[in-house]
């Protein structure tokens, strides 16, 4: 479904992403982890055809992102970390707008279901500017689900959500993956990534440190202790990389 091959992205003289490659098949959930400035958001935005890649071949459902951006956008939903919604529209107008822009037929039933699921049904006539941060996040996710995408890209999806919202979002992500969607989640919450992701990609300073399943990850970074969490592995992977770079600098 999602195929990224040798992705590079540079801004002026800064190389934000340096040759990463990965695939996400239908039903898989890829956790994108890395320190701040590692290139996670840039990767997602490039994949969502919002910004062009400097180099590399990216495809979604067989469509190349650089050649068929609109076909790609029709098939995926990108939920940014801080969704800036249209403040003048109401909640239901936002959903109507999304249904129209993505050409979703008979969206009303699905919209009503999503509004109830995300506890926004009593806010449907409220303007977006009156919503709290968490509610805006819920609305952005509802809009993303409304289009029934084949691929979902989440950038820090749990920001601002209440505990109930977090549990529900995690469940819906798993449900979407079971129904055949390819999902990428960028997050600093390693426990959540470990909990629901089938694959993990560790990024650091734009470079790909590791990409594989959780068992493969544990094998790649063995540790003396019996219990090895993703958090342990993450620090091991990033510390090793820093040490290697320092060694290289010494040489």
């Amino acid at each position: 479904m999602i195929d990224v091959n040798d992705l590079h992205k540079s801004y002026d003289q800064t190389l934000a992403v340096r040759g990463i490659s990965f695939q996400v098949a239908p039903g898989q959930i890829l956790g994108l982890v890395g320190p701040n400035g590692a290139g996670k958001t840039t990767t997602l935005r490039t994949l969502a055809a919002i910004i062009p890649a400097t180099q590399g071949r990216l495809t979604v459902d067989g469509y190349r992102v650089d050649e068929a951006a609109i076909e790609v956008k029709r098939r995926l939903a990108y939920i940014p970390d801080d969704p800036q919604l249209f403040d003048d529209l109401t909640v239901e107008q936002h959903l109507a707008f999304t249904a129209s822009a993505y050409g979703v037929p008979q969206a009303s039933d699905q919209a009503n279901r999503l509004l109830q699921q995300f506890q926004l049904d009593d806010k449907r006539t409220s303007p977006v500017r009156a919503l709290s941060r968490g509610m805006r996040q819920k609305l952005a996710i509802s809009c993303a689900y409304l289009q029934r995408p084949q691929a979902l890209l989440f950038d820090e999806p749990l920001t601002g959500l209440d505990p109930q919202g977090i549990r529900m979002l995690k469940q819906t992500i798993v449900d979407h993956s079971r129904s055949g969607a390819a999902i990428i989640i960028s997050s600093h919450l390693l426990a959540m990534v470990e909990d629901i992701c089938t694959h993990v990609l560790i990024l650091q300073q734009g470079k790909q440190r590791f990409c594989g399943t959780m068992p493969e990850l544990k094998m790649a970074f063995p540790k003396s202790s019996e219990v090895t969490t993703l958090e342990d592995i993450f620090f091991q992977a990033t510390d090793l990389a820093v040490a290697a770079e320092q060694e290289l600098l010494k040489v």
């Binding site: 935005r45 919002i50 609109i70 956008k73 940014p80 249209f86 109507a96 707008f97 249904a99 822009a101």
Partner: protein, 570 residues
Amino acid sequence: MSSLTSSKPVSLLHPALLELLRYQGRARLLRLVSGFGTPQRFVLSCVGLFLAAIWLGNVAVSVLMREATEPVRFLNLVSLGFTTYALWHVVRNAVWRPEAGIHWTKTEQEFLGGAPFSRRELIGYRFTSMLTAASMKAVLISLLMLPDIHIWPAALVGTILAMLMLDLIRMTVELVFHGVSNRTYAWIRGCVLTLAGGCLAGSLISMLCTPGIFAPRSTPIAVTLLAQLFHSAVDLRNTLPGLIVEAPFRPFVSIVTTHSLASYVWVWLAVGTGMVTMMAWLVLRLDQIFRTRLLQVERQVWSETRALDPELIEPEINDRPLVAIPRWGGIYTVAWRQWITAKNYWASLLVALAPLAILSVLPLAENGDPVKCFINVVGGLVFFAFIMMPSVFKLDFRRDLDHMLLLKMLPLRSSSVVIGQLAVPVVLATVFQIAVLSGVALVRPISPLVLACTCGILLPFNVLVFALDNLIFVLYPYRAQQEGLEVFIRAILILTGKGLLFAAALVFVLLWSSAAQWIGAEITGANGPIPWQGIFAAGLFAFYVTTASVTTWLLANAFGRFDPGQDVPA
């Protein structure tokens, strides 16, 4: 902003807030220097500075070289200027109720509101920012008045105090209009609007009934009407209500227009400073009173709501269908969203359009040929459309800086998004122009064909105007609340660029009219089937359609390349 319960005596300005103001000043300076950061910005900044020097030099020369205004007239101008501005605050807040007693930015709310500052200190911080802004404005105003004033330091101090007074009056009005109950506000609104409407109608009637006002003369009718309006205002100033309304500014007007530093000036200075201090105290007191009142109202509403049985409250939940929005390749979808925004601000749009409509139809006041009158109205409309209309209808990319990511995410072609974004402002501007022209055609009958042709040409013209403004914005995005040299340079660049384009378009129209006459005579003969006016209109239409299409295409390309992560300014 919190801190309602601060009982201990506190200073008016916390040292940390003073430090913050200092840092903000320094940051502005740094931002000013960073305007020269990249080669592209450096070149643009240099061009902007050069143009600014020419513009400002021109203004400076015209200020210094002009003759001094007659003392009584100058006094009237200063007094009426301050009073009108203060009254405008009252009328504005009567039309649009303020959303808060004191407006705080999001950063102030989240950062300062959460810090251990008392309410008094926060308002003191606001007063200090006002003083800084007022001082800068006062320097500029006093320099503009240089030929008319006698003692510049006195004029500067008087203007600073007057500007502070204006800000304090605005704060007082906003506090009261926000804090009173809905019923009281409705009553105040009714009174203010009735009074304002009465004064305006009275002035207009007296102006229009002046004998010989429409007699042919060398000065333009607009200037004559404005002069008459000024005379009416001066007459009003000399009445008892006028003297009462003007009273808060009397000391400052006396200081600004003084001829010598006589003892009475010092008395006025003491009185003026005392009045400003009193107003500052009043603002602090009103803020406390209305915050307490609003909290009481909130508690009362809560206790009443609590008494209600939740089972009896009708749930708002319903499963009604979503509104079906036609797609049209996404163009209608994007335009629909802008239309919703336009509907939310229809009153503001009407208020902003009213002066443009009045200024456009002024040629009607002149007796003369209907065709000449129609051309003058069209000329006015075109000029306003080019210079002012894009600021009125900001229902496009210029309002969507924070939504660029969302727009880029949509599965739509860049061209569809651009056309959808431009549709609403273009249609609204065209409808406004057609309404004005139709009104003019009713008063001074004109051929329906000429009217239809003009309206047809205005549509691509408006597309060109809005596409151009949006293209500049997408290439060099900025935030509306940005300030400093960069904004000034941008304004100068845009104004000059637009002025040059307007002049070029004017030259083209003149040349094309001659060419159309020649083509008409050469090809179809003097009495041929196609009159030269038809050729002229068709050529003009083709020109605007072509340039509008090219500009829209350039805008679509610029939007396609726009990177929300990099190009959106902080």
